[in-house]
Amino acid sequence: TAMHFIFSNEVVLLFDFWSVHSPAGMALSVLVVLFLAVLYESIKVGKAKLLYWAVVSMSIPASQLTEETDQDSSGSDSPPVSTTRLRWLFCHFGQSVIHVLQVVIGYFMMLAVMSYNTWIFFGVILGSAVGYYLAYPLLSMV
């Protein structure tokens, strides 16, 4: 069967319980999908900013983190290597969790578009536009 975009107030999105039958329900679903798309764009920017702040706030010389045996480094003013590496581990674990969120939300948006409902598609596109517009300028700001 050939699939094509349709305008409809009925759709089932992602989960069995997300079943829409009315214009009000469709409007709400479009808003949710729009918010999801905004969140997706924001997460992409947020991940980069978090990394930048983590590096800056910990003021770690690059050599201290990439060298395994770094016992007599010039780190007399910086915190002990072990706690710094632990903080870096937590930070990177947090980044990975955010990455999983980004991957999952990205796939959810793809599946929402796959419903071939035009209202939902508009919601995804508009949300991506709004999210990109609001979030990406923050990348170049310090």
Binding site: S8, V11, V12, Q95, S96, H99
Partner: protein, 189 residues
């Protein structure tokens, strides 16, 4: 096509492919009708199950819990490999960008003075081995990303979790060094 009926008909399709004996004329129409119903058996919402799960290729069907466990591991590793490939390509690109050309040209300044504007161009030669390797890796990356998309499109909860967990684990393992070595130098621009 009204999708709200799908979750109801998917179970009916199971029963209709094992054709009841009273509806068994020798015309080909009924057979093609059965085939059509079978193809419409796509899930449109998330579900957890391991019976009759078709994965990417015809003939690759999961029917037992053991097979689902194997598929979970395979999909997990595929998603992890995808993240690693992305990181590997980035570092390969950085290493092979040898030809840095500086072009300086005079441009008119604000008060009628002459300023020197310097352009820095970083690039790869087209017929070089690094660029050919990058192209091959790019195709592999595109194919794997489409496979992961199609796997997620099965709406099977176990497989989707495998994709997400594999991506997270791959990102955690492969971005570890990269995040430290590369991003710090990039922020020094």
């Amino acid at each position: 096509v009204d999708h709200s009926h799908h979750k109801g008909t998917s179970h009916m399709a199971y029963n209709s492919t094992t054709v009841p004996s009273h509806h068994h004329p020798t015309t080909s129409a009924s057979h093609s009708h059965g085939e059509g119903m079978h193809n419409m058996m796509m899930h449109m919402t998330f579900y957890f199950g391991f019976k009759n799960v078709e994965l990417l290729f015809s003939g690759l069907v999961i029917n037992t819990a053991g097979e689902m466990a194997g598929a979970f591991v395979a999909v997990f590793l595929l998603a992890m490999f995808y993240e690693g490939l992305k990181i590997a390509r980035e570092s390969l690109l950085r290493k092979s960008q040898v030809s840095i050309r500086y072009n300086s040209m005079p441009v008119p300044g604000p008060n009628g003075t002459i300023l020197m504007e310097t352009h820095k161009t970083v690039g790869q030669q087209m017929l070089s081995f690094p660029h050919l390797l990058q192209t091959v890796l790019h195709i592999i990356q595109v194919v794997i990303s489409y496979f992961l998309m199609l796997i997620f499109m099965t709406y099977n909860g176990y497989l989707c979790i495998a994709v997400a967990a594999g991506a997270g684990t791959g990102y955690f393992l492969f971005s570890w060094k990269k995040a430290v070595v590369v991003d710090i130098t990039e922020h020094c621009h």
